[in-house]
């Protein structure tokens, strides 16, 4: 099986995030593989081990993403591709990403493309479905179980806590949800071997794209952090009075009812 994984390098949202000049400050931020993409990588490796074939992990980004690609290789992926847009793309959105991926997959043979359900940084959840549309292949989002049987994929997906079971035909694109698997830690021998595995670097030029072709369709107006959590308030007194006070606060102060 020819398996591709779409991977994004994201900042760790569990770490402190600083915004300056309308951008997230990269200096000092922790960068990781988007956690949902880790499920995709793990699933791809397991499928490859079961059915044979090859796992290629693809990312769009800058030189810095090499570390995350190498980590995917250390986990067990066979090849990595870095589409380096550092010099060509100033602003980007989901359109940009899909356009580049579409060009990348243009001459590729694939049975399965796995992506994360969302990237935890911008959380659009659009890349997988939009790419599948462009490639004209079926897609299933938020999967929690996957069995491949010939040309058919038996899938379970998460629908708001319930499970939906469905079959789809290959080639197929799926986006992975928590619960699909338990991503492995890259082993030490894996890490050491990763440096010998192929990591191809491409630029827009190599995909016959111009900067104009990938110009974003959206404009970011403002980037801001959620308001800081204020100190809580503990109500006191008789229960009846507390309830009255609570309702009044919800109505007049926080205006939620």
């Amino acid at each position: 099986m020819n398996i591709y994984v779409l991977m994004k390098r994201t900042f760790d949202t569990e770490e402190k995030i600083v915004i300056s000049n309308g951008r997230i400050e990269e200096e000092g931020a922790e960068f990781i593989i988007n956690p949902y993409d880790e499920y995709a990588i793990e699933e791809a490796i397991q499928l490859r081990d079961e059915h044979g074939g090859e796992v290629t992990v693809v990312t769009i980004g800058s030189e810095d993403a090499e570390k995350q690609l190498r980590t995917a290789l250390a986990m067990g992926a066979d090849k990595a591709v870095l589409i380096n847009t550092e010099d060509d793309v100033e602003e980007s959105d989901q359109f940009t990403t899909v356009k580049i991926l579409e060009a990348f997959f243009d001459d590729k043979e694939y049975d399965l493309i796995l992506a994360g359900n969302v990237a935890i940084d911008q959380a659009s959840g659009q890349i997988g479905p939009r790419l599948a549309e462009k490639l004209n292949i079926p897609y299933v989002t938020t999967i929690t179980n996957l069995k491949i049987d010939g040309d058919t994929a038996h899938i379970e997906r998460d629908v708001e806590g319930d499970v939906e079971k469905l079959d789809a035909s290959l080639p197929l694109l799926v986006t992975c949800q928590q619960g699909l698997n338990e991503p492995r830690y890259p082993s030490l021998p894996g890490i050491m071997k990763a440096k010998k595995k192929p990591l191809e670097e491409l630029e827009l030029d190599d995909l016959d794209l111009d900067e104009d072709d990938v110009e974003p369709k959206t404009k970011t107006i403002e980037v801001f952090l959620p308001p800081a959590k204020e100190a809580g308030k503990v109500l006191e007194g008789e229960i009846d009075d507390q309830v009255k006070e609570l309702v009044s606060l919800l109505r007049n102060e926080s205006k939620v009812i």
């Binding site: 570390k67 190498r70 980590t71 082993s187 021998p189 890490i191 050491m192």
Partner: protein
């Protein structure tokens, strides 16, 4: 000068940190209170290739370097001193001498299972009456035909109860000047006459196994002698030099953990209407810890780097061990202080850091012995 770590070193740090936080952290308090060696954690560490970092693939290792290994010890130590000590001892004392001095056959037979994490290594040097003065070893090994017959007693040996093989030092004869020749001999733990007991009730590193070994007419094939029969003493001094880097890395990990806990707590804890991190008295403590942690890290990494470059690292390993372990003790002590009464409670973990750190100032050469080593290197 380049202070940047390689991608492999960075990835190793991330992996070991994730593993330590995910798998070990939830069990640290239990490991300490029950004083139980977490064998299953070591199985997992073996599967991840952590037990064989500084050894080549042909011996079951992961083909990493000393620096990568030091980073791994640091990250394990940041979460659990007990696990860190057993790990450092298994690799630096158990496996390394076989790698440095073993014959090809000994490496295949004894090193491969250690590097793969299928067995745990141990090194028995200390005796009831020969601690800092390792030259005072009383255990003897006498050649009888094709076998060495070993008699003696070892104490405080890390991992011994869980080891398949223990490297034991023993007097094998006298040199021209009439001084004892001390050699290292590989002793499988199922050999008749070997008794291992671990009844110590320790102050810290309580989840690390520490055992007493009694050898009564223990017979092993003479091929089990490790390395040059005349240079056993030199060999284990070299082994200890390497081991010091790992104990230093363990101290660094505990110091780092103390810093992180103290800083987070100081920012959170309010007294007199503000975070205690706003008080200069607390700030100065934090500033000192942060600085010492970074200095310790530089020294530990430099010593590891020197070893990887095959340069002399005896003095630097002693600097690193002395400074990083004393930093760990100071940092843990101040972390408790910053936590106030809460820091005295097990739940907050910093009190354990202090108990664990104390061992590091004693094992693999006390702080005094490090100063002796440094002074000797200075030509005193």
């Amino acid at each position: 000068m380049n202070f940047e770590l390689s991608k492999e070193q960075e990835m190793t740090r991330k992996m070991v940190r994730d593993f330590a936080e995910g798998v070990i952290q939830p069990r640290t308090i239990e490991i300490d209170t029950k004083a139980e060696f977490p064998a299953d954690i070591f199985d997992q560490m073996g599967e991840l290739g952590l037990m064989g970092i500084p050894f080549p693939e042909q011996y079951g290792g992961s083909d990493g370097d000393t620096l990568t290994y030091a980073i791994a010890v640091e990250e394990i130590g940041r979460i659990c001193g007990s696990t860190g000590l057993s790990y450092a001892a298994a690799v630096s004392l158990g496996a390394s001498p076989i790698y440095y001095f073993g014959t090809e056959e000994q490496k295949q037979k004894f090193l491969v299972p250690l590097a793969k994490g299928e067995a745990l290594g141990a090194f028995g040097l200390t005796e009831p009456n020969a601690g800092s003065d390792a030259g005072g070893t009383k255990t003897t090994a006498v050649l009888d035909g094709d076998e060495y017959v070993i008699n003696g007693e070892k104490c405080f040996i890390t991992n011994a109860s869980f080891a398949k093989t223990i490297t034991v030092t023993a007097v094998t004869g006298k040199d021209d000047r009439g001084k004892n020749i001390i050699s290292a001999i590989l002793v499988p733990t199922d050999t008749k006459g070997l008794t291992i007991t671990s009844n110590y009730d320790k102050m810290g590193v309580r989840g690390s196994d520490t055992a007493e070994i009694v050898l009564e007419d223990v017979r092993v094939p003479k091929e089990n002698l490790l390395g040059d029969p005349q240079k056993g003493f030199k060999q284990f001094l070299y082994t200890l030099d390497g081991g010091r880097i790992s104990i230093a890395a363990l101290g660094l990990g505990i110091a780092q953990a103390s810093l992180e806990k103290a800083l987070a707590y100081a920012k959170e804890r309010k007294q007199f209407g503000q975070s205690i991190s706003k008080f200069q008295a607390i700030q100065f403590k934090l500033a000192d810890i942060a600085m010492e942690v970074e200095l310790a890290r530089n020294m530990v990494y430099k010593a590891a780097w020197l070893k990887d470059q095959e340069k002399n690292f005896t003095k630097e390993a002693a600097y690193a061990k002395l400074f990083a372990t004393e930093t760990a003790f100071r940092a843990a002590n101040q972390a408790i202080q910053i936590h106030g009464g809460y820091g005295y409670m097990r739940e907050y973990e910093v009190e354990r850091y202090l108990r664990d750190a104390k061992l590091l100032e004693i094992g693999e050469g006390t702080s005094e012995v490090q100063r002796l080593v440094i002074a000797r290197q200075l030509g005193c």
